[in-house]
Structures are given as C-alpha cells and as structure tokens.
C-alpha cells in the first residue's frame, strides 16, 4: 500500500503545492478508494484506476474550493531531495529553474497542470496519461504541449520579473 500512497501523495503535492493539503487529499482519496474498490474492474490497470480516482478528486476539490490560496509551499530541500549531478554552476542554474517551474505550476489551469505533472514531473508515458485522464492520445499530446508552452511563458515572465 505504501507504494500507492507515495504515488497519490506525490501527485497531490505536485498538484496542490502544499504539504498539508497533499496529506489531507491523499487521505480523502484513500477513503474514496476503499469505498469504490468493489466497483473496480479487474480488466483495468489498478495503478491507472487509482490515479484516475486521485486526479478526479484533486481537480474537483480544487475547482470547488480553489484551496483558498494561490501560494505554493516554498521550494525547499524536501522537493530537491535528489542531489543534482554536474558542475556547481549548472547545478545552481538547474536548481533555479526547478524553483521557477514549481512556483509557476499554479498559473496553469487545473487540467493543464495535471497533464504536465503526469508527463514531466512524474515521467508517465502518453498512453498511461490517456488512460488516467480518459482522453484520446492525440488530445493528451496536444494538451501536454499547450501546458508546456504556457509553463515556459510563465517561467520566463517570472525570470524576467526577478532581479
């Protein structure tokens, strides 16, 4: 169960940007999961089904409450647990880019944010994402592309706005 908890928790954390919120949402997703288990169709992949459940819950919850906040947790050592290889200058630059990406995620609409998180932060294949989002492959690809473009624009804007 811990592996599934980790996946849902990370998805919730990356989506909401708040550690506290992610813990609460993970718990709610698992509550729903236990309620929905009898309806699980064994011909489907369990992971995809769980992620679909989590995604629906997160987006619904986000739309319902907007989480009363636009600020994400500080991008701290928790998010960069893995040490970065390479020379210090590159590491520093990459670190800075990660921070900008993290802070810009909230500027995307919930659908786009979910697409870019699944593809780029979690490294899922387009086929898997299509299953999770229950969308045709072509739609997923174009949504990921649009989300990346939007993200790149916001990141550059932030970079330009900072001293």
């Amino acid at each position: 169960m811990n592996a599934y908890a980790k996946r849902v928790f990370n998805l919730a954390y990356q989506f909401s940007g708040s550690h506290q919120e992610a813990e609460d949402q993970t718990q709610e997703v698992f509550l729903k999961l236990y309620g929905a288990l009898p309806k699980f169709d064994f011909q489907r992949s369990f992971t995809a089904w769980l992620l679909t459940l989590a995604k629906n819950h997160l987006i619904d919850e986000y739309r319902r409450t907007k989480w009363q906040r636009t600020q994400r947790d500080d991008f701290d050592e928790r998010t960069t647990a893995a040490p970065l290889a390479g020379n210090p200058q590159e590491t520093l630059e990459r670190e800075e880019n990660r921070r900008l990406v993290w802070e810009s995620l909230n500027s995307l609409s919930s659908d786009m944010r979910m697409a870019v998180i699944l593809r780029d932060l979690q490294g899922r294949s387009y086929e898997e994402i299509a299953q999770v989002l229950d969308l045709p492959l072509g739609t997923v690809k174009s949504r990921v592309n649009r989300a990346r473009l939007a993200l790149a624009r916001v990141v550059e804007e932030k970079r330009g706005g900072e001293p």
């Binding site: 813990e23 718990q27 009898p38 690809k141 790149a152 624009r153």
Partner: protein, 167 residues
C-alpha cells in the same frame, strides 16, 4: 507560416517523434523567428529542470492514518457487493428502460386518454347502429304505407271496372 502551427509541434520536436518533413518545416520556421527560438529555449530549460523530479516519501503519520481507514469503515452495506459489479450495469440499464416503457403504458396520462378514446369510439359506433336501426324501422313503415295505398288504388280500380261492365 504563423507561429501557432510550429508551436503545436514543439513537444514532438523536442521528443524526436516528428517525421522528417515536419521537422524541417519547424526548423525553417525557427531559423526565421526569434520569438519561437526563445520559447523553444525556455521549453528546453524546463525539460532539463523537470528531469528526475524528486519524489517525496509520505510521512509516517500519514501512512498510519491511511492504514487505519479499512478498519474504521462501517461493515454494514445496504447493497451486497456482488450487485455492484460493473459487468451487471448493462442489465440494470436495460431493466430501467423497460420499466420506463411499462410505466408509459400503465401510468402515463396518455394511457388513460387512450382508454377514453376507445370508450368514445365504442359509444359512437353503438349510437350509429341505433340510428340506422331506427331509420330502417321508418323505411319499413313507409313501405307498408305505400303497399296499403297501392292495394287501395287497385281495389278502387277494380270497382270502377266492374261498374263499367255492368253498364
């Protein structure tokens, strides 16, 4: 070429899944468009930044809360799980549609007015038959009158003839 179409292809371009002709078209556009060059450079930076994005371990407190869920749930179920299997859903849907049709026939107001219409037709048919019967009665009466008249005339004719022969 406007920037929109090449930008739609940027992800496929970066992932190397674009076919050669489109790839060349994107490169041609990039060579002439500084805005798209900057955007693509931004995408590359993001691509590098998000690679190996670290995953967090959920806290022990959260894991403890999660493993407490199954026992905390109520055991009582209103509907047995076997009835909630997805494979049964088409049958439930079919039964629902059937019930709707049955209710149209037995409960809907159209059903009652249908009955009324039938009753009315039967009533109309009955009264038409009665009228025909009454008409037929008057016709026989009139025919009887004609017959009496005719017989009367014949009789007077005979009397006249007899009186003439006596002369």
């Amino acid at each position: 070429m406007t920037c929109e179409r090449p930008q739609e292809l940027f992800s496929a371009y970066l992932e190397g899944t674009l076919d050669p002709a489109l790839r060349r078209a994107v490169e041609d556009h990039l060579a002439a468009c500084p805005d798209c060059q900057a955007l693509l450079a931004g995408l590359r930076k993001i691509e590098a930044a998000v690679a190996d994005w670290p995953e967090l371990e959920p806290s022990q407190a959260l894991l403890a809360r999660l493993s407490a869920i199954p026992t905390a749930r109520k055991k009582f179920r209103l509907v047995p799980d076997i009835l909630l299997r997805p494979s049964l859903q088409p049958y439930f849907a079919g039964a629902a549609v059937l019930l709707v049709f049955v209710s149209f026939i037995f409960l809907a107001p159209q059903g009652r007015s249908f009955q009324k219409a039938v009753n009315r037709q039967v009533h109309l048919g009955w009264s038409a038959a009665e009228r025909i019967y009454a008409k037929a009665g008057s016709v026989t009466e009139r025919l009887g009158d004609y017959r009496d008249n005719l017989l009367g005339s014949l009789r007077t004719l005979n009397i006249l003839k007899e009186s003439e022969t006596e002369k």
